[in-house]
Amino acid sequence: MAKKPHDTPNLDQLESGPWPSFVTGLKRLAKDKDYVVDLLGHLEHSYQTRKGYWKGGTVGVFGYGGGVIPRFTEIKDADEKPVFKDAAEFHTLRIMPPAGMHYNTDILRKFCDIWEKHGSGLIAFHGQSGDIMMQGCTTENVQKAFDEINELGFDLGGAGPAVRTSMACVGHARCEQSCYDEGKGLRTIVNSFLDDIHRPALPYKFKFKFSGCPNDCMNSIQRSDMAIIGTWRDNIQTDEALAKKWFAKHGMNELVNDVVGMCPTRAIQLKEIKDLRKGENISSVAVNDSQALEIDNKDCVRCMHCINVMTGALAPGNDRGATILVGGKRTLKIGDLMGTVVVPFMKLKTDEDYEKLLDLAKRTVDFFAENALEHERTGEMIERIGLVNFLEGIEVDVDPSMISAPRTNPYVRMDGWDEEVAKVNAKKAAA
């Protein structure tokens, strides 16, 4: 039995309603733990005064420089003593999840037992960078908890100016739209950067994210410095049985309005079967006895819309890999940036392909480490130095797929033009 609970009139109001309540969960923990009794008091104080009261500090585990988020209370009495003394320290351990966030109940129960013993008993699945967040631990217990978690085969994630914990979508494990092995990509890259994860020494954070197709379920284009987004080069695949099944259920209005009409590049047309074009870039599939969809794959931008609507009837092609975009981030300091294309297509099939991806990642992080200013993200660095300087730094050639349009102003010194044209022509001739 724990000590008497604090009055929590604000938090009590978050116990009603149909959605699962974190307050009810905290109160259950508070029955046995003075730690959580005081945590509830601390949180209620925030609700009453509408302010946060945690400050950072330095707490870690032996051998690592990051991965623990230290929190010390700032609610102090006149003698500078913590008002909620049992929750005066409330650190979080960031633990890297398996790619795709798959678990069995055995490992989840082991996490629970460890965290009940050494921590608050509160775990968040997952933080916005993807970490399992073991929330609420005293300074004294951080090492004990980590040692036991580490023995299970799990490791601390990143914090501060470091390579950060990564995420991969469900992908290959359960999705027909997956264009590469996201889990393999994640482990190949992240497990090669463990020193940069555990010992923060970069200008600022660097995040990788892995989405298996352009639906980008990991939100990688705006949430990561390097987004690896699955795509394909050849024709969309079709399945007539599934196309006819879809059409029988949904009908012509939906086919026209929801599929053909919503193609962003007008690459799909509805045609009589007898009028279908043949050609190496054409995909077509009958939807009934007389009509068919015809896709000109040279016009297709691989947006996924038609494939999302007619799953299985239409599918990504066979020549699969990823588009790699660099520089995504949120507001601070220069405003929001989406990642932009650095590699239009990288084949991802063999081990050698994944090694090439790792090589690109290493060149990118090395360039970032040497050239970014303190607290500058990769996207901001590229904004400051220009994409071309960045590409030269990581030894990647320019490509028109990297831009939405060529420059619209003449303000550039161009006396190297002839030399560049010669290089492009030489490359073309060699290809």
Binding site: N10, L11, L14, P18, P20, S21, F22, V23, R28, L29, Y47, R50, K51, G52, W54, K55, V61, G63, R71, T92, P98, H102, N104, T105, I107, L108, R109, C112, A124, F125, Q143, N150, G153, D155, R174, C175, E176, G183, R187, N191, P214, N215, D216, I221, Q222, R223, D239, D258, P264, M304, H305, G312, A313, R330, L332, K333, G335, D336, M338, E374
Partner: protein
């Protein structure tokens, strides 16, 4: 003197996910053919081998106590097949290889208070940050805002009645850890930081704080004989970027830290390119514990979107079709001068055409 022997970490990195996969997922890794959704909250995937798997998706509170996790594990062991995964929005997924297990699993989850849904064209769980529970710089709570909103949106989570999927996020400061979303709720400070000049010299690395300001409004100064920092309040955009590296520059204010609503963000490449979200409402009070004013604006936008958007139009697709004037007209949200961008690149957000809907 002998120091206690410290355990050296095993620098193992990310564990192999294959060991945690449901057997059907492992057997058909990279070999899936198609999927459909038999009902809201259930996905049915068919492999090229002909094997099938049903996934039941349930909402959680994300910040889970060990009793809740063990309860979910009990359900997974008894009614599913002992394997689960989490979505990026903290929903828990239970996989079963036998369709007959779906209905009893759903019944058990619902009996224990876990809503089943969040698939397809529903409103899924809100991308959730830390807030007052754990963050060092929060303007508001996260778990409470999410709980309050999801109580209101429960029907939309458990049904697939929206034109397309709806993704929400909340963020407790302008850094916006919650990220881009169809509708995002983000703290917007409206007053410059209040500086405790007694503490700045000891707590803050002053050049780093000066460098952090996006509008160069901070400069070193001597205040009451002590080295400190001062803010040009005419230049200050109240972003709060100085607060994390310098806590004596308090930006959070119980009254003046407001909430803003942003719409039309999207990460997917489907149809139009990925989009940043745009601010459409602001000045909402930070009204814990239930934030009713925020819920009212969010629900109103969702109501109009649900009525007006066509099938498969995300919030951004819909607004692109109807145009911003009609968005403000239909939602009855006031369009003020503060919604006209004046940050770098702002001209690209102006209408350089005569394309106007009347």
């Amino acid at each position: 003197m002998s120091q206690p022997q410290m355990r050296k970490p095993v620098e193992c990195g990310v564990p192999d996910h294959m060991q945690y996969l449901h057997p059907t997922l492992r057997n058909n890794y990279g070999n899936w053919k198609y999927h459909d959704r038999p009902r809201p909250g259930v996905l049915h995937h068919v492999s090229k081998s002909g094997e099938e798997v049903w996934t039941v998706r349930a909402g959680t509170q994300r910040q889970m106590d060990v009793y809740t996790i063990r309860k979910l594990c009990d359900i997974a062991d008894k009614f599913a097949e002992g394997h689960v995964r989490f979505t990026i929005r903290s929903n828990m997924e239970f996989m079963v290889a036998d369709e007959k297990k779906v209905a009893p699993l759903i019944a058990e989850l619902e009996k224990n208070g876990f809503p089943v849904g969040g698939t397809g064209n529903s409103v899924s769980m809100i991308a959730h940050t830390q807030g007052w529970l754990h963050c060092d710089i929060p303007g508001t709570d996260a778990s409470g805002v999410v709980k309050s909103l999801m109580d209101e949106l429960h029907q939309e989570f458990t049904h697939e009645e929206m034109p397309n999927r709806v993704r929400l996020s909340t963020s407790c400061c302008e850094i916006n850890c919650g990220g881009q979303a169809d509708i995002a709720i983000v703290i917007q400070h409206t007053k410059p930081p209040k500086i405790n000049h007694d503490l700045v010299a000891n707590v803050c690395e002053r050049p780093a704080v000066v460098a952090r300001c996006p509008v160069a409004a901070i400069r070193p100064a001597l205040v009451n004989g002590k080295p400190s920092l001062e803010v040009d309040e005419k230049k200050c955009i109240c972003c709060g970027a100085c607060f994390p590296p310098c806590p004596p520059m308090q930006i959070n204010d119980p009254e003046h830290s407001k909430l803003a609503i942003w719409v039309g963000g999207k990460n997917s490449n489907a149809r139009i390119k990925p989009q940043f979200m745009k601010m459409v409402a602001a000045g909402l009070p930070n009204n814990a514990p239930r934030w009713p004013e925020v819920a009212a604006v969010v629900k109103n936008i969702l109501r109009v979107y649900k009525e007006d958007a066509r099938p498969w139009e995300r919030m951004a697709d819909w607004i692109e079709r109807i145009g911003w004037p009609r968005f403000f007209e239909k939602t009855n949200l006031p369009f003020t001068k503060y919604l006209i961008d004046d940050w770098r690149g702002a001209r690209s957000n102006l209408n350089a055409s005569t394309h106007i809907r009347f």
